[in-house]
């Protein structure tokens, strides 16, 4: 059980929630969040770690209330409790050298903690961040603390802004169309690209087989073996 410290809109239809007491994870991992007590909604909702403040013991999520579960989250107030099971999933591999981060919509959320960890692991490296939004940008300022460049795109194709021919590691999270475009570009440029996938989940830990997908190395569970994969492995599942 974690305690809600803050829970506020940061853009139209986008909320940021900070909680205290959830075990600390790492970039690319997620929690199954659930309002305690009631049996409906029943299952936890997978929500990525957006930022970790290890000193304060706080984890921040950025989420979009789109259905019953997430709408319930938006109604919570500081001081109330939320069940935060996790951290689950493999997280992003922290590669050395130059890195390019591509986030689309709510997929920008996990990129922030990734930028933070990449920066911490190497204060001198180059980190380029590309953010794509449909209508309104968010988290831009936060990225500026860790990135060298933050490019944002509203209403267009963020992947068009990205040069995939650099000697860099690329990380992407966002809607399928965006990931497919990134994969195509990475193919053409022979780039190294890691993608974070989304699937409907029940358990989040690898037990129910609700989120499996076909990969180059057999069937894998997005929640447990992912959500982050080398895009070449999961080409058919994007």
């Amino acid at each position: 059980m974690a305690e809600i410290i803050k829970n506020e809109p940061i853009a139209n239809g986008i909320y940021r929630m900070s909680v205290f007491g959830a075990p600390l994870g790492r970039a690319g991992q997620f929690f199954m969040l659930r309002v305690p007590g009631a049996l409906d909604p029943l299952l936890g909702r997978p929500i990525s770690i957006c930022e970790i403040d290890a000193d304060k013991g706080e984890t921040t999520f950025v989420y979009q209330p789109i259905g019953r579960g997430t709408a319930q989250f938006a109604a919570l107030l500081p001081g109330q409790q939320i069940e935060a099971q996790g951290p689950y999933g493999n997280g992003f591999p922290l590669k050395g050298g130059r890195t390019v981060l591509i986030g689309g919509g709510i997929g920008t959320a996990p990129m922030l903690q990734l930028a933070k960890e990449l920066r911490k692991s190497d204060p001198a490296r180059k980190i380029d961040v590309f953010l794509g939004f449909r209508e309104e940008a968010y988290l831009e300022k936060e990225f500026e603390s860790y990135a060298d460049n933050v490019t944002r795109n509203i209403g267009g194709y963020v992947t068009n802004d990205v040069d995939f021919a650099l000697d860099a590691t690329y990380y992407a999270c966002g809607p399928s169309v965006m990931l497919r475009a990134a994969a195509k570009a990475a193919d053409e440029a022979n780039a190294s690209l890691f993608v974070s996938l989304e699937k409907h989940m029940a358990c989040g830990v690898g037990a129910c087989l609700g989120c499996t997908c076909q990969t180059e190395h057999g069937r894998k569970r997005v929640c447990k073996d992912g959500p982050v994969f080398d895009y070449r492995e999961v080409r058919d599942a994007i």
């Binding site: 029943l42 409907h200 690898g206 087989l209 609700g210 499996t212």
Partner: protein
């Protein structure tokens, strides 16, 4: 030293408590072993096996419903041989009673699967004749007393392990199926598997699941499952293991009072991985409060 009031014997196997992880909701134990002390469980029923394994169903596989969920996993599993060589010993080492859940597409598959499982160090074979998610799958066997009895008897003849037959709540006459399985030699019965349900994606104007129908589980079904366990437990003399939407020690006590000697917990583990540990603690507290030497004293008091 007072003895453990939760312990029981099921099919000649000693269980430290009556709380068993339900098949298909606990893998073979690996995943939850990283999160909680699985050695405290009464038993673990592994993911449903088929002879040659399967990649399961395509498309959407899990879908939440009010206080429940539909699943259409379709018995994705690594096959019986893989289980025997790679999973059975791991499960044994975890501590709780080891239950292998066996599904099948046809009689031959069941019998060959049961035969192969003779090489595994398991405690109970749970004969799954009730999976609604595989076409021409297990559920076909579980719908009628005759077919259920037939496969039960044949598997019993092949297997060196006690056989617990897992029944389908979708059977037209569940009590008749239960009686037929008992007559055919089943050592125990477990119920319920999932209820056939449907989900529709209104936006896309299509069924959510490729198979159109899928299996409903979770708290939503508890009142119906409890009624069925009560009916079946009153109709047979072999032990009954009850399940369907159990979330708490209180829920577990309901199934015990209705006649189940033990319970399985499935969907609630997804919502709260530690649910079974809470249930076990709650059952201990109950025995203490009620001054029960053994929890089995309340089995079937209704």
């Amino acid at each position: 030293m007072p003895s453990n009031p939760l312990k029981l014997t099921l099919c000649g196997i000693s269980l430290q408590n009556p709380v068993i992880a339900a098949s298909g909701t606990f893998g073979f134990g690996h995943e939850y072993a990283e999160i909680l002390d699985v050695s405290r469980l009464g038993g673990i029923s592994g993911k449903g096996l088929t002879l040659n394994g399967s990649a399961g169903n395509k498309g959407m596989r899990v879908y939440e419903t009010p206080s429940g969920m539909l699943n259409s996993i379709g018995l994705e599993n690594p096959g019986v041989r893989h289980f025997v060589t790679h999973e059975a010993d791991y499960m044994r080492a975890l501590g709780p009673a080891v239950i292998a859940n066996l599904g099948g597409h046809c009689e031959e598959d069941y019998l060959e699967g049961a035969h192969l499982l003779n090489d595994a160090d398991i405690d109970i074979l749970e004969l799954n004749i009730s999976c609604p998610n595989v076409k021409a799958g297990g559920m076909a066997f579980g719908m009628l007393p005759e077919t259920a009895a037939d496969i039960t008897q044949k598997v019993k003849a092949v297997s060196r392990h006690p056989v617990m037959v897992k029944l389908s709540p979708n059977a037209p006459d569940l009590v008749a199926v239960a009686r037929a399985c008992e007559s055919a030699g089943a050592d125990a019965l477990s119920l319920v598997n999932t209820f056939l349900g449907m989900a529709i994606d209104v936006k896309q104007k299509c069924a959510v699941f490729e198979n159109v129908y899928a299996g409903l589980s979770g708290p939503a079904i508890l009142p119906i499952a409890l009624r069925m366990v009560h009916q079946v437990a009153h109709a047979v003399t072999i032990p009954v293991v009850g399940m369907g939407g159990i979330t708490s020690a209180e829920d577990a006590l309901k199934f015990l009072m209705a006649g189940a000697v033990a319970v399985q917990v499935g969907t609630m583990t997804f919502a709260d991985p530690k649910a079974m540990l809470r249930i076990i603690d709650g059952l201990s507290d109950y025995c203490a409060q009620e001054g029960l030497d053994n929890l089995q004293q309340i089995v079937g008091i209704l």
